[in-house]
Symmetry: C2
Subunit: 353 residues, 2 copies
């Protein structure tokens, strides 16, 4: 498989989409990306697993990371890519999440031999599966120096606009307990599902915090995302588990988020099962400011968790900026507007000229 | 396989236990029971499936049904029967539920050629599985005349005491609905699990009714026996289902029980999934009164649902009276006290002499 970096960004997106790369099966695509980048004499290329890093080294005053993942969710009868020229849309798995963004990255790599800022391009594996496999996360551990930069752009779909930072996410199990009994003699037991009423009452009464950070309004959320309990149709149950998901603004640390949830469910048994930090928007940093000015338009907060948080861990401010509407990510009818692809490419080229 | 009706009631229980008869596999035991009863010239025997009915026809003023089921729950490393003579206990699957009771029935059939009341012995299949298979229920439909009587005794384990009538049981699903959304933008959805708070609040605040009927105090119960909801760890769920079980005193009809539950959960979507009537104790009937006087001791209400309700449907008052502690039914260490077996046999023989 060969990629043609001289093709236009839409054709290049199509080529990337048509090299299937469901998570854990990125090798063929990573090989093609690596081979294409190695043809470019102004870049030094490093390969780690199925993650490819390519860097300029022009001694500029600032360095910017531009990153995108190579993998997709499973195929859902939506390959190969299909162009609808009259609607100006490219359909197919990965067009939105996020091979459109990857195509923009490859166009920048090929067409900007002398960018105004040094660039580090990262095309990585396994973003759509458990974080232990995530290529960007692995890189932050194996090669933190390779990622050092003043600013990072993650080309996750954001309607070709800037979504700054991201909220953190915490998952917990809130458990009530009781005592089993035959339901025909229920007064001999204690019903753990009835005891969960208070857990749900607190959730139903939750008032979200909406802090303003760097001029952006975040919006927290605390939700039951699952509930289970019950032994049999004739047994008073002795356990009920409410799974909750707390999405928290990036001004809270993970420790503060955990303390909030433990306090919120005070009196109940709380087990934290997943916890990932948010990312501050960092719009006060010069590189970020310049980027936002160059892109223009409204800057929005990112509510969902994305890999921008990986950069926060390294102290690098980061934003999401990429083609495609995130609402169509992971959908059977995934697609990207051609105009998003060309606009992202143009805007970044102007900023880096 | 052959049964020896001349053996004592404990030995006969042992013989019955050692002919395995898990539900749907009662044929060998039913054949042995039928063959033994056909040896007795004072009885006329009818076979339906693996259910055996044997009747005296002496023209007495009253007729009494004495019934027991032949099947057991699955084997759980508790066969063959094991006697512990020092403790006076017989161990093994079915000793308690309810081959001890069946042995008493067979002893009465063999030893009372001229009982003071006409007798109808019913030994039936498939009590431990869905009611469509239940041999007694089938008989009420196929041969209601065969079951006609003034009084019925069901030899379910009741600690060799009288437990009168039984409570009815109703199962329902109470459903809340909402609107899915990504949990990172939860305000765009409506959380169906949070909406279930009110369902659990009502359950937690439920006050059971304890009506006195024929001098016995029943005790109702309304419990969540299961709860489920949730789509994925990052989705605001659009449905939550609370499974409830209502155990109602026998002065309520099934229609009244259903109306109570629908009213209790007014405003929620309620689906009735199972509904079985209770049985009035019927202790005002002459045959029942005479039986209770003869047995002596305290009469208790039956809280759990049993097949006595089948007799209620035919207008026949019925009580539970059998050897064994029901708490050991369906347990690996199922057992019956020898004293319960001999006491039940003796008491019934005296009452029928």
């Amino acid at each position: 498989m060969q990629l043609d970096l001289a093709a236009d960004v839409v054709t290049l997106t199509e080529q990337l989409v048509n090299i299937e790369s469901v998570s854990h099966h990125e090798q063929v695509l990573a090989d093609a990306v690596e081979a294409a980048l190695r043809e470019l004499p102004h870049l030094s290329v490093v390969r780690r697993g199925h993650t490819v890093v390519a860097r300029t080294d022009l001694g500029r005053g600032e360095r910017v990371v531009i990153a995108g993942h190579l993998d997709t969710v499973p195929v859902n009868d939506n390959l190969p890519a299909r162009r609808d020229d009259s609607a100006g849309i490219l359909h197919g798995l990965g067009t939105c999440d996020m091979k459109g963004g990857d195509a923009v990255i490859l166009k920048l790599a090929a067409d900007l031999p002398e960018p105004s800022r040094d660039l580090t391009f990262v095309l990585y594996e396994a973003e759509e599966v458990e974080s232990t496999f995530n290529g960007l996360r692995k890189l932050t551990e194996s090669d933190p120096d390779l990622l050092q930069a003043d600013f990072a752009i993650l080309m996750e779909p954001s309607n070709a606009g800037v979504e700054a930072g991201c909220q953190g996410t915490l998952r917990a199990e809130v458990r009530t307990s009781g005592e089993r009994a035959h339901s025909a003699r229920s007064w001999q037991g204690v019903n753990a599902i009835h005891a969960a009423a208070e857990v749900l009452n607190r959730l139903a009464g939750y008032e979200p915090r909406r802090p303003e950070l760097d001029g952006l309004t975040y919006h927290e959320g605390l939700n039951a995302v699952g509930i289970r309990g019950g032994v049999a149709g004739n047994v008073v149950p002795d356990e009920c588990v409410v799974e909750v998901n707390f999405r928290f603004a990036p001004d809270r640390s993970t420790a503060e988020a955990e303390a909030f949830v433990r306090d919120f469910f005070d009196g109940f048994d709380v087990t934290i099962t997943d916890l990932a930090p948010g990312a501050m928007p960092g719009l006060d940093r010069p590189a970020a400011k310049a980027f936002v000015e160059s892109v223009g338009g409204e800057v929005n907060p990112k509510f969902g968790w994305t890999d921008v948080a990986q950069f926060t861990q390294l102290g690098i401010p980061a934003v999401n900026y990429g083609p495609g509407d995130p609402l169509f990510a992971h959908k059977q009818d995934e697609h990207v507007p051609v105009e998003h692809l060309t606009r992202c490419e143009q805007t970044l080229k102007e900023w880096l000229a």
